[in-house]
């Protein structure tokens, strides 16, 4: 017990610093992933077979291969094309990974909105893009919040793999520390604790947001 406490105190500064890196990685990659996800969700519902095929291929490959393989492959691929710091290359790779899952979340949410909404909007003279932007997407985003929150939590934990690109986020910091103090058990326990706290805080925030949107929009009835 005291050993754990000691490791915790000794590395507090490093882990706090690492926590900000983990958070930045998570937010940057997931923001990008939402953008990617939205684009590919539109590809899937576009009715265009080529776009649909591209989206389907992307999603199949991402879902069908391990993240660590994608991360390494994309990292070495990306740095061949552009010189990027490990943090940004890692964020980009994480975004491409999460984007596939988020595309499916958005597609599902958009398609779950009653057809009558689009028809009512079009019958008022709205163009398809306007109806999407003003009527369908706001409702779809709201429905996507619970699965998106889930994806955020997965993304937060997945960001640990970027340690292997040499980024000093939480897991990377633990890797480094345990090699120095020869107490891997205690060090990884502390690292896990940081992730757990972040996930708990995040879950709380998502629940609050969901509740707030529900009140604002007066529920989900027609």
């Amino acid at each position: 017990m005291t050993a754990i406490y000691e490791i915790f105190m000794e590395n507090a500064a490093a882990f706090m610093q690492a926590t900000t890196v983990t958070l930045k990685l998570t937010f940057v990659s997931l923001l990008l992933a939402m953008l990617i996800g939205l684009v590919f969700a539109f590809f899937k519902i576009s009715g265009n077979r080529v776009l649909y095929g591209i989206a389907q291929l992307y999603i199949t490959v991402i879902r069908g291969t391990p993240l660590i393989v994608q991360l390494m492959f994309l990292y070495f691929g990306i740095i061949k094309i552009v010189v990027l710091p490990a943090f940004w290359a890692g964020s980009l790779a994480l975004a491409i990974h999460a984007g596939a899952y988020i595309a499916e979340i958005f597609r599902g949410a958009i398609q779950s909105i009653d057809r009558g909404q689009m028809e009512a909007a079009r019958s008022l003279g709205m163009s398809y893009p306007l109806a999407m932007r003003r009527i369908i997407l706001p409702q779809a985003f709201k429905r996507a919040i619970p699965p998106l929150g889930n994806q955020f939590i997965i993304g937060l934990k997945d960001s640990s793999l970027v340690a292997y690109l040499g980024v000093a986020e939480i897991y990377g910091t633990a890797l480094y520390a345990q090699a120095e103090n020869f107490q891997p058990f205690e060090t990884y326990l502390v690292a896990g604790f940081y992730y757990l706290v972040l996930v708990i805080i995040f879950t709380f925030l998502v629940n609050k947001l969901e509740l707030k949107l529900n009140v604002e929009n007066g529920g989900d009835a027609k």
Binding site: A120, S123, L124, G125, Q139, K222
Partner: protein
């Protein structure tokens, strides 16, 4: 106002509208009746191009419309539609539902849109509900908001697809009342309904559809009292009992 000639519509191999001829003059109210699946909704939706016909002509306000060339968004601004299930925007208040299209489609200044909306909400008897969300309304109130929302675009034609079918019986009257007022003001209307009382009282002409065809048409007194066609007689016997 509306002139349809030789219209055919298929869903895959299903022939849903068969050589339909249909015309509505300005300020007239036409009621479409017929059994479920006879193609009433589809015909209505061909008038504002939510469905595109496979052959035949659709003329709106004297203009033959070619869906490939003409701007359908522009045409739909003149053809309002009211749906069986209201289709109000649940994430917007009553007022926001009504001002949405005038502001974003017509580019009307917000102030002006709000004034029009207040006037329309008063007209349908819902001034006090401007700030609430659709989920807090009764079915009849929702449908009246939907009518106000369509009217906010200042359409020349209004289409109603079974506007009272999803309502509790005691709420039907308030919606029909608004529709009667609208008819009285000279709105050109096409109404699909099972409310035969409304048809008798308000319609200038009644069209009876059966299996994708318009089998019979005429003034309501003729259709209801002297139906010429066997199918019309059977249908009326069914709905009037």
């Amino acid at each position: 106002m509306i002139k349809i000639k030789g219209l055919n519509k298929y869903f895959g191999s299903l022939h849903v509208l068969k050589d339909v001829d249909f015309a509505v003059d300005k300020s007239k109210v036409v009621v479409l009746i017929g059994a479920s699946g006879s193609g009433k909704s589809t015909l209505l939706r061909c008038i504002n191009f939510l469905e595109l016909n496979d052959s035949g002509r659709v003329e709106i306000m004297g203009k033959n419309i070619d869906p490939k060339k003409d701007d359908l968004n522009k045409i739909r601004q003149d053809v309002g539609m009211v749906f069986q299930h209201f289709n109000l925007f649940p994430h917007k208040t009553v007022l926001e539902n009504v001002i949405e299209a005038p502001i974003f489609v017509k580019k009307m200044p917000r102030q002006e849109a709000m004034e029009t909306a207040s006037y329309l909400l008063e007209k349908v008897g819902l001034s006090d509900k401007a700030g609430v969300y659709p989920c807090q309304l009764s079915g009849g109130q929702k449908q009246r908001v939907a009518i106000a929302r369509a009217l906010a675009m200042n359409p020349k034609i209004m289409l109603f697809d079974e506007p009272t079918s999803a309502l509790d019986p005691e709420l039907v009257g308030e919606v029909l009342l608004v529709m009667k007022e609208l008819a009285g003001e000279g709105m050109t209307m096409v109404v699909v309904t099972h409310e035969m009382g409304f048809a008798k009282e308000v319609a200038d002409r009644v069209f009876f559809m059966d299996d994708g065809r318009i089998v019979e048409e005429g003034p309501p007194c003729e259709i209801f009292n002297n139906p010429r066609h066997e199918r019309t007689r059977e249908f009326l016997a069914q709905v009037l009992n």
